[in-house]
Symmetry: C2
Subunit: 150 residues, 2 copies
Amino acid sequence: MQRTNFGEMACSIARTLDVIGEPWSPLILRDVWVGLTRFEQIQADLGISRKVLTERLNHLVGQGVLERRPYDQRPRHEYHLTQKGTELVDLLMVMAGWGDRWLAGEAGPPVLYRHHACGEISGVDLRCAHCGEPMHAGDVDLLPGPGAAV
Amino acid sequence: MQRTNFGEMACSIARTLDVIGEPWSPLILRDVWVGLTRFEQIQADLGISRKVLTERLNHLVGQGVLERRPYDQRPRHEYHLTQKGTELVDLLMVMAGWGDRWLAGEAGPPVLYRHHACGEISGVDLRCAHCGEPMHAGDVDLLPGPGAAV
DNA sequence: TTTATCGAGTCTCTTAAGGGAACTCAAATG
DNA sequence: CATTTGAGTTCCCTTAAGAGACTCGATAAA
């Protein structure tokens, strides 16, 4: 469990970790992304403690990453990705790609992604938003930005 | 703190989280990536407990993401990214991009990335490895792969 | 009207990990 | 021989995770 708050750091990675860095959270987002939107569904799929799931869902809603939508006439709701949350799925796709490459073993990837645009089974590649060329660790220089710590 | 092991799940996201899902780990990788390679440097930069840092570093070395390289004639070493670890930096860059977009506030991004190939300050975009078009949450269908659970 | 059902939490207790800070180790330096 | 140094290790306390029983409120069934 993490008791230190990263949100104060002048670092977007740390701030992002404050939103999604708790280990269950990415898996909760994955479940919502694939259509498991109700508390019991997520709880059953992940085998997570009900108390912890409640806490994580409250946190993700509080961060604006998930939203509650009522269904049924009883006080019941489902959880859905907001725009903010949908953009976090990029992270899940990169995790999946790295996991497929380094951790899948002989069995191969558990999930395949078919890209709508080309109809092919494919994975994500990180490209420069400006020129479209590959953009990985060794392709960039880091510079202080306007939001850097002083 | 996490007591459940995700490595058993037939899911590359869960397996990746078993490697890097503990909240301090991405920040440790970030520090090593930017050149803070020694125990004391990382400890001072992150303000992390020495015990926890030791545990995390051992875990990351055990997972083949970091490696120890001796320096000095004393029994001292630095931590460096392996190829496996270098490819994990993709994750940090996507986290940074999302954090810049949603969490930087008026101050703006704390760190800028200058892409070597085009010389511009830019960010990463997720593109299909096959056709090069954008590939985000809404652009893919998920299918069971060879490594899917039965 | 009363009872039962249901999904989504809440509560209690136990166990495990995080965090602080002092301490230890081993190899060099003075 | 004593000191310094960087990298852990140990101890103790606090906090959170996890298990599972329980509660709640609104509907459905009897």
